[in-house]
């Protein structure tokens, strides 16, 4: 059993890394796209195997109850995104926005990003975690700037500067954690291994841990798009290729938040340290309210959904900041639901901006008339992300709100206000795009496969109606672990 798990774990890392190298050589873009899908499928299978056969952790890598579900979710979404990407880039090539040489580069960086994210999720070593997230940042910077338009370069540059800054702060925090651990655990690698840290966290110098957590929260929080440091996110989403927007929103934000949560667990294990909850809840609430207000004036469809991602990361951070089994459960569920729904929306948005030839909301009209399948897909996606029943997002948001009401009724007021703001704006925007009169404009038929979007929406719908028993039990278990 252990051997199988070890194979699966190395597959998760080796396949994307190998595929990234291989894709640099493959010149034919169709073959490249197929290879990309194949590699993503293989890693997804490896992740599924890992669910059954769990290898023992070492000082560098580890699979536990918490990360296994994110690994599975991550690889599922990256597989469906690779399917979407294959039909998306074919169109970009036709319209001449991308050349085959850029596509080669694009596929290689896509796999490199999967490698970095899998490494970050599997890492047991806080240094390795940092390296992986840094790699993911650098790779995504390159991807965001892919179109080489002035706006894309500006977005990539901004992302690069803010992302590196976040990464730098996180490294300082990591060094401080090591310094706190070193007198207790001793010098060297064990003092950076997360499981050893957790076991001994109670004996660490609390003041040092506090300071470290502030740096880590700000640092990784930048990558998760939390508000004071969110400025890169809308630009990066709007100007990069749409598959990248889907991966950024659906996966990379989760990975950054996952890093914060790992450190939050360390903090909670030390009774003398500052409670990390209020800090996270505060940042989360701020992000939610800010994004709710900002949603209102967006003119660009991808920017609109980028702000919606900030909003949802705010909700998730708030839920984990509240802590306790119920709020953590809601946070985990919301992480999953947001990931699936938002990437489905970006799949739809990618095709929409291709058929309409624009990302401006004001020029997109009457989609349900001109492109029924796509238009209704967008409607369902937005209805789901806005938090209407019967979709899964409703359930998780409901849990967040009700657990807040039960414990801190006053906090629930701004929370509900933020949710309602976002809800209203999204539906109002959707109304113009999906219904109304199509204004003549180009109504080219779509040649794309809509299956990735349909699969995601179906999963979200099923989760909203019925969550499988083992999944619930497992979410409960992790929620208790998170403290």
């Amino acid at each position: 059993m252990n051997g199988l798990g070890l194979v699966a774990m190395s597959t998760l890392l080796a396949v994307p890394a190998g595929a990234a190298l291989l894709l640099v050589i493959v010149t034919n873009y169709q073959r490249g796209a197929r290879l990309n899908v194949g590699a993503a499928l293989l890693t997804l299978l490896a992740a599924a195997v890992l669910l059954q056969a769990r290898p023992e952790g070492n000082l560098y890598l580890r699979v536990d109850d918490f990360n296994i579900y994110l690994i599975l979710l991550n690889n599922l979404v990256s597989f469906t995104t690779s399917l979407f990407s294959a039909s998306y880039i074919a169109h970009e090539l036709e319209t001449g926005r991308l050349t085959p040489a850029y596509l080669r580069f694009y596929h290689a960086t896509y796999q490199a990003l999967l490698f970095a994210m899998n490494l970050a999720l599997l890492a047991n070593n806080i240094g390795l975690l940092w390296v992986a997230i840094e790699l993911a940042t650098l790779v995504t910077v390159l991807m965001v700037g892919l179109y080489r338009t002035p706006a894309a370069l500006e977005a990539a540059w901004k992302y690069f500067i803010l992302g590196s800054l976040g990464i730098a702060l996180a490294l300082f925090g990591t060094i401080l954690v090591y310094l706190a651990a070193q007198p207790v655990i001793g010098q060297g690698l064990p003092a950076m291994a997360w499981d050893r840290l957790l076991a001994k966290a109670a004996e660490f110098e609390p003041a040092l841990l506090n300071l470290a957590f502030v740096f880590l929260l700000l640092g990784y929080g930048t990558k998760a798009g939390l508000v004071p440091l969110h400025a890169w996110l809308p630009d990066a989403h709007a100007e990069g290729p749409t598959p990248i927007s889907a991966v950024l929103s659906g996966l990379l934000l989760n990975v950054a938040l996952y890093a914060v949560l790992r450190f939050k667990m360390l903090m909670s294990a030390n009774p003398a340290a500052l409670a990390p909850g209020p800090l996270m809840a505060g940042l989360g609430l701020l992000s939610l309210l800010f994004a709710g207000l900002m949603l209102y004036r967006r003119g660009d469809i991808k920017r609109l959904f980028a702000y919606s991602s900030i909003e949802h990361m705010g909700i998730i951070t708030f839920a984990f900041g509240m802590g306790g089994p119920l709020a953590n459960f809601a946070g985990l569920l919301h992480m999953t639901m947001h990931s699936l729904t938002k990437s489905a929306i970006f799949f739809a948005v990618g095709h929409i901006s291709q058929v309409k030839g624009t990302q401006r909301i004001s020029t997109i009209r009457g989609l349900t008339v001109t492109h029924p399948a796509l238009g209704w897909g967008l409607v369902l996606g937005v209805v789901a992300i806005a938090g209407m029943p019967p979709f899964g997002v409703f359930m998780s948001e409901f849990l967040v709100v009700s657990s807040t009401f039960a414990r801190y009724p006053l906090l629930a007021v701004p929370l509900v206000l933020g949710l309602l703001l976002a809800f209203g704006t999204l539906l109002w925007r959707l109304n113009g795009m999906a219904f109304g009169h199509p204004d003549g404009g180009p109504a080219a038929p779509i040649k794309a496969s809509l299956w990735p979007m349909r699969i995601h929406l179906a999963l979200v719908l099923i989760a909203g109606i019925w969550l499988p028993e083992p999944l619930v039990a497992w979410f409960h278990h992790v929620a208790i672990l998170l403290g």
Binding site: G127, L153, E154, A168, I175, L179, P183, G188, L189
Partner: protein, 221 residues
Amino acid sequence: MRGLAFDIAHFLAGGMVLVSFMLLYQDRVYALLNIFALHALVLALAVGWQAHTQEAPHLYITAAVALIFKAIVIPVVLRRIVQQLGIHRTLEVVGGVGRDMLAGTGLVALSILVMLPVTQGADPLAREDLAFALAVVLLGLLLMVNRHNAISLVIGFMSLENGLILAAAGARGMPLAVEISVAFSILIALIVIGVFLFRIRERFDSVDMQAMDAFREGRRK
């Protein structure tokens, strides 16, 4: 001997803070690059000294990387970029030097006030090194915030990373993997930055960040 080792370590780390201040008031591109090279040189010496006192040979690698890449290669490459792109040789200082100096002094005081009480249990050498390192990080941030051109941003970011390496070197026995990765990341960062600077030139005829800001959504309408 122990006392002397201490003093030299402090002297070098304090020297980095001083050079960080010098970065703040440069108004010529070449002078900024030269001072950055000095910053990296002092870093290399400080890390080398840590390697010697901690008897940690792997830190010599970190020191060598700092010396070769940051003190020599990067300034030379950036100088060539400046020449090739024909960037203005003078830099605008937003808000004036006096304000920057005052803010910088405040940041140094802040980092000492924050770090020293927090690290009471830690090794005294690491402790004060860490306070200096935090000061260098914050001064790097200040430089990034107060400048609008790409070269100063890059220099600010790299001086900030120098502070991080100082902190990592001061943390006794911190595993090698991290140090290599830090050095590696700088290398990659340089490649990315290089690519960007060239592309920026291609598209804008300027490396002034305000020219890029004009492309933001709000102003595009």
